[in-house]
Amino acid sequence: MAEQPFLSMRGISKEFPGVKALDHVDFQTSLGSIHALIGENGAGKSTLIKILCGVYQPTSGIIELGGKPMKATHPDEASRLGISVIHQELNLIPVLSVAQNIFLGHEPAGALGSIDRRTGRARAKELLDRVGVNVDPDTPVKRLSLAQKQMVEIAKALSQESKILVMDEPTAALNNNEVQKLIEIMRGLSAAGHGVIFISHRLEEVFQVCDTITVLRDGSVVGTRPVAELDMAGVVQMMTGKAILGTRIPVGQPPADRRDVLEVRGLSAKTKFHDISLRVAAGEIVGLIGLEGQGQRELLRGLFGVLRTTTGQVLVDGTPVRLRSPRDAIRAGIIFVPEERKSEGLGLVLDLTQNIALPTLKRRQRLGFIRLEREREKVRSLIEALNVNPPVARHKANNLSGGNQQKVVVAKWIAVEPKVYLFAEPTRGVDVGAKEEIYQIMRRVTDQGAGVLMMSTDMGELLRVCDRILVMFEGSIVKEFQGTEATRETMMKAQWGLS
């Protein structure tokens, strides 16, 4: 780059207990530039942005803004220094008006502690015109469309005279027209001398609007290049790199006559996913992957009866089932091991016995009393079988490590003897050793005749564990791979909707 960078982050490292999220990252951008920051899930994009806007403090490294060192310890300070982040989840208050939201925290003051509403309205109108959105400044924000809300966020950033605007996946929820509009606005902003940092999962947009691309992988910068020197395949390669795969766990041996424990026919849920058809056979582990927000989470929640589905059919063991609540799903033989195991999967203050025994209490009760000796026996055998450590049934669940908590969640469902296991991010926050054990447990339950459908954003994990992998994009299954023939590159391309 010919001109002096306006924002310069040098040697930024960030360590969280046990994890190095960023490792000597250099990132520079100048005013008037639209700079893409891309990478896989967990590559470090959001950590870098959080450091830039003062949410996190870097472990080491320096940030310079306009040639001067910058230190922000709070988002408010960063925005006063001229850095605004437009988050995916918007920072607007629905009941307040557009003008009130734009100037929240720095309202034009009038007499008697009042707000100079006329000035506010006029200035809001001016800012809204600059981003090219035609809404009345007095409208409550709750009446606006998502795209309009995003424009209001941008106007809010402009009102603080932000030099650098970070847009974190602004297009994720917009339709095509709205995306084009946003792209125009971004061009307008850069022409007016603002620096724009664009984080997106949609490569086409990145190539359409950005002039520079920085690719992050595993907390390091792979490269920063002008767009003109890159093509999409090259970028995908930069993002995936040559990752080392662990050894594959043995492929399941489906019984000679394939029997589907789960069959989904044309399942849709309002705006979340549409026309999903898939099969999971007894003995099979099927993976489900997609970028953030492509409907894969919702699909699992739909299959567990948490999310209302509109059309389609679900069959368990060949029998159609109605899934209107988790209770229905469990009765039908479908269980769900959620991502948020602490809030959704476990009673943290309960001990292991209580946690594991909870879903199957009925089976061990007589006249409304629980037969404790039977319960203890069952729990002990499960704790042993799953190698929960420490194997003390009286321990409270919140004293266990992430991996062992996950085993307890699985144990409680194994006791139900389900036919279909749904897993969401089964090994997130779990250490390496426990990961292996969880994979082994999955294999074991499938060997005993169950089917597993697991959603994960960790490609390496799916490649190692799954017999088949389904890729979701914008609410549909766009690609199916055999577990042994998928590669990171082909999967990545499918996830970005490229193939």
Partner: protein, 331 residues
């Protein structure tokens, strides 16, 4: 749409605004209740009954306003009743029959209420205790202390005539206290809807995180809001003492919950930043009208409590139904 100066909005806009106003449902309910009361209870139509209703509304309206402030800021303050009681019981003990003493006592007790409110606010924000639990605990202590000050309404400790006259005096047919309440409501409205402080307060109530990120000093505003609540509760206490002529350690207790009934029935919602000063006044009026009608009809006090509870459920449900209806129409 072009930027233009303040001009009169069209009739359609006005109608939509009225329908969307959070205080709208309570006035519909009030109108219905009024009509029913008018038909079924002959004594309700007595000419001096309206005056009676108005003066009774004052205490509920003031306490309701006190509660509206904190609810809008996302908290709740159950010590309103305790503050009212303690002010009411302290007043006859400290006030002497001369202008200086009267003014000083009032100022002292108002300051005392404010400080109690600020203290709740401080504890809620700094120790991060649940406001409901904390203020409930404070309420118990204050009620206990009020009983210690004056175990029963003690007519040997009389409040100076001049103060009583100031509270119960009339301008034409209407008591001064009613006018004062209207004035306090108007100031409250201004503070909540026209000042930066009020805007920030509502922003905090709607979404603490967003308000914080916008650089609003959330803790400070919450503490001050609790202070305002304490102040208004103390005003309510002074008024009640003046009406009674002496203190009553139990008269204030119900206000902790009644103030919430008035605010919530009036359309103020928890943790949304949505509320209405006018609605709270309506809510207070409804509580009084219902009590009045039941008295005219000879309904026992026990059932009055039952019906008051049902009213609250009804008011909250009505608000929720209205919200759902509007959302389904996308307006």
């Amino acid at each position: 749409m072009t930027a233009r100066g303040p001009s009169l909005p069209s009739a359609g806009v006005l109608r939509r605004r009225a329908l969307n106003h959070p205080g709208f449902p309570i006035y519909v309910i009030l109108l219905i209740t009024w009509c029913v009361a008018w038909t079924v209870a002959p004594s309700f139509r007595a000419p001096n009954n309206l005056q009676n209703l108005l003066i009774q509304t004052v205490a509920f309206a003031l306490a309701g306003l006190a509660q509206t402030f904190v609810i809008l800021a996302g908290d709740v303050d159950l010590s309103v009743g305790g503050i009212i009681s303690i002010v009411e019981c302290a007043l006859p003990l400290i006030m002497r029959n001369n202008t200086g003493s009267i003014l000083l006592s009032c100022a002292l007790l108002l300051a005392f209420g404010t400080v109690l409110g600020l203290l709740s606010g401080f504890l809620v924000t700094r120790i991060r205790v649940e406001p409901m639990v904390l203020t409930l605990a404070i309420n118990f202590s204050l009620l206990g202390f009020a009983l210690f000050l004056m175990p029963f309404p003690d007519y040997s400790k009389v409040i100076p005539k001049a103060f009583i006259q100031a509270v119960t005096g009339k301008v034409g047919p209407i008591q001064t206290a009613v006018f004062a309440t209207v004035a306090i409501a108007a100031v409250s409205w201004y503070v909540i809807y026209r000042t930066r402080f009020g805007l920030h307060l509502r922003a905090i109530g709607a979404d603490k995180e967003t308000a914080f990120r916008a650089g609003i000093k959330a803790d400070r505003i919450r503490i001050i809001t609790h202070g305002i609540t304490g102040f208004l509760a103390a005003v309510t206490g002074l008024f009640l003492a003046g009406r009674m002529g002496t203190g009553d350690p139990t008269a204030g207790a119900n206000f902790s919950l009644d103030s919430m009934t008035a605010a919530v029935a009036g359309g103020t919602l928890f943790s949304t930043g949505v509320g209405s000063v006018v609605g709270t006044i309506g809510g207070a009026f409804l509580i009084v009208i219902l009590g009045n009608v039941f008295n005219h009809l000879g309904v026992s006090t026990f059932f009055q409590y039952v019906l008051r509870g049902l009213l609250l459920v009804f008011a909250v449900a009505a608000g929720a139904v209205k919200k759902k209806y509007q959302e389904s129409r996308g307006s």
